[in-house]
């Protein structure tokens, strides 16, 4: 009863001039108009208009890709909020982090949410990769999307690594010391690469600022672009991989 009246109210809303001017179409009453509504929406057009029922079952994907994306959204929101109190400079960075924990209202909640979501995202992305691998999701025609996925895995790991330095505590300092020394083992280019990444020979002000810029601008931008391609290619390559015997049943 209530659902029917809500539906009717929504239908009437979709028939208004304001709705039509925003969404460029009226109520979607047929499959064709429903498809057109998805095609004509900037945020939905990369999404498939139809999906196999099998690919919506939990065990088909465990929603691991969606879960990784959801964590990325949480990390973006909490990260932007944390930026309001954080200075990427040497005496302040550690104090700002302590302020967030003990002084700022709900600061400890946001910081822990950011930290835990980051750790969860690394786990989710790896799990997603293993699941796609065991499902054979890297096989044609999905090869290129597998490559994009590997790119996203690397971006996730680099985001996790650059974020590790920002609290500027002992753990951060020694983790980055060890990590950047691993880079210097690269033949010929190792030392110059370490110098460019740190902006010096030691982990200091320059290194903190460079890791901050990588963490909040360059890597998230790369992630957003790769995520866009990744989602779009899922649809273009014919939807999610489902087990062949399940596909035949449908």
């Amino acid at each position: 009863m209530t659902t029917r009246s809500t539906h009717r109210a929504l239908d009437q809303l979709r028939d208004t001039r304001v709705w039509k001017s925003i969404f460029r179409r009226g109520p979607a009453r047929t499959n064709r108009t429903r498809s057109l509504a998805v095609f004509g929406n900037l945020f939905l057009h990369a999404m498939p208009v139809k999906v196999r029922e099998e690919s919506l079952r939990v065990r088909a994907t465990y929603y691991l890709g969606s879960f990784s994306f959801f964590l990325f959204v949480i990390l973006s929101v909490t990260g932007i909020l944390l930026m309001l109190y954080y200075h990427p400079a040497v005496p302040m960075a550690y104090r700002d982090m302590k302020d967030l924990q003990f002084v700022v209202s709900n600061g400890v909640f946001l910081r822990n949410l950011h930290r835990l979501a980051a750790q969860a995202m690394v786990i989710a992305v790896f799990w997603h990769m293993f699941h796609v691998f065991y499902r054979g999701g890297y096989k044609p025609p999905h090869q290129f999307n597998w490559v994009v996925g590997v790119g996203l895995l690397l971006v996730t790991l680099f985001l996790s690594y650059t974020g590790y330095l920002l609290p500027w505590d002992q753990l951060a300092f020694w983790a980055i010391t060890v990590g950047t020394n691993i880079i210097s083992y690269v033949p010929f280019l190792g030392q110059p690469m370490r110098f460019l990444l740190l902006g010096g020979h030691q982990i200091g002000e320059n290194a903190l600022l460079r890791f901050y810029v990588l963490h909040i601008v360059i890597l998230p931008l790369a992630a957003v672009i790769l995520i866009g391609i990744h989602f779009w290619r899922v649809q273009k390559d014919g939807g999610l991989t489902v087990r062949e015997d399940h596909e035949r049943k449908i």
Binding site: V178, N181, L196, G199, G200, Q202, N206
Partner: protein, 169 residues
């Protein structure tokens, strides 16, 4: 009509290079591609150069450590600001890096065990910097140490010397 158009096109000063197989459009396309390529390459070179800082606010690599009498015989002194050990043996002085050659952690001198130990991955060094155990691939670096005319010792971290070089005072 079309004939006259063709003939004007053939005689037109716009397309003089038809015989060479390239038109003015091809020429401009090539010139623009080359110009954009040069500009792109230049901006990559300029940006890469920009990424590497010219002035660093890091501790000096060459520094005075005071007169030799500050260091008793058979002692290992750790200088935390410079991350260097000053070792005085019976024969004389040498200065060695406190940075582990494995992954760059700061090592610690353990006088009771007579060794230098790294807390990160368990590398162990003898007092002269040679590797005793652990993943360290190389011995600790020895730095040049010399006596200044005014009686102070000077260490230069940019000058790596062989472990056999010992300053006799």
């Amino acid at each position: 009509m079309s004939q006259s158009k063709d003939s004007t096109a053939g005689n037109s000063p716009d397309r003089p290079a038809e015989t060479a197989g390239s038109t003015r459009r091809d020429f401009f396309n090539e010139a623009a591609t080359i110009a954009l390529g040069i500009a792109g390459l230049g901006s990559i070179v300029v940006s890469t150069r920009y990424l590497s800082p010219n002035v660093l606010f890091e501790p000096p690599t060459s520094f005075r450590i005071g007169p030799p009498d500050d260091y008793p015989a058979n002692s290992v002194t750790y200088l935390p600001d410079q991350e260097v050990y000053i070792v005085r043996t019976q024969e004389g002085f040498f200065a060695e890096s406190a940075i582990c050659t494995h992954l760059g952690c700061i090592t610690q001198w353990k006088p009771e065990l007579n060794m230098i130990a790294c807390p990160c991955h368990g590398s162990k060094f003898k007092r002269d910097g040679s590797v005793d155990a652990g993943p360290a691939p190389r011995p600790l670096a020895h730095f040049a140490i010399r006596l200044m005319p005014d009686g102070d010792l000077l260490v230069d971290k940019l000058e790596i010397v062989t472990p056999s070089q010992i300053l006799k005072v």
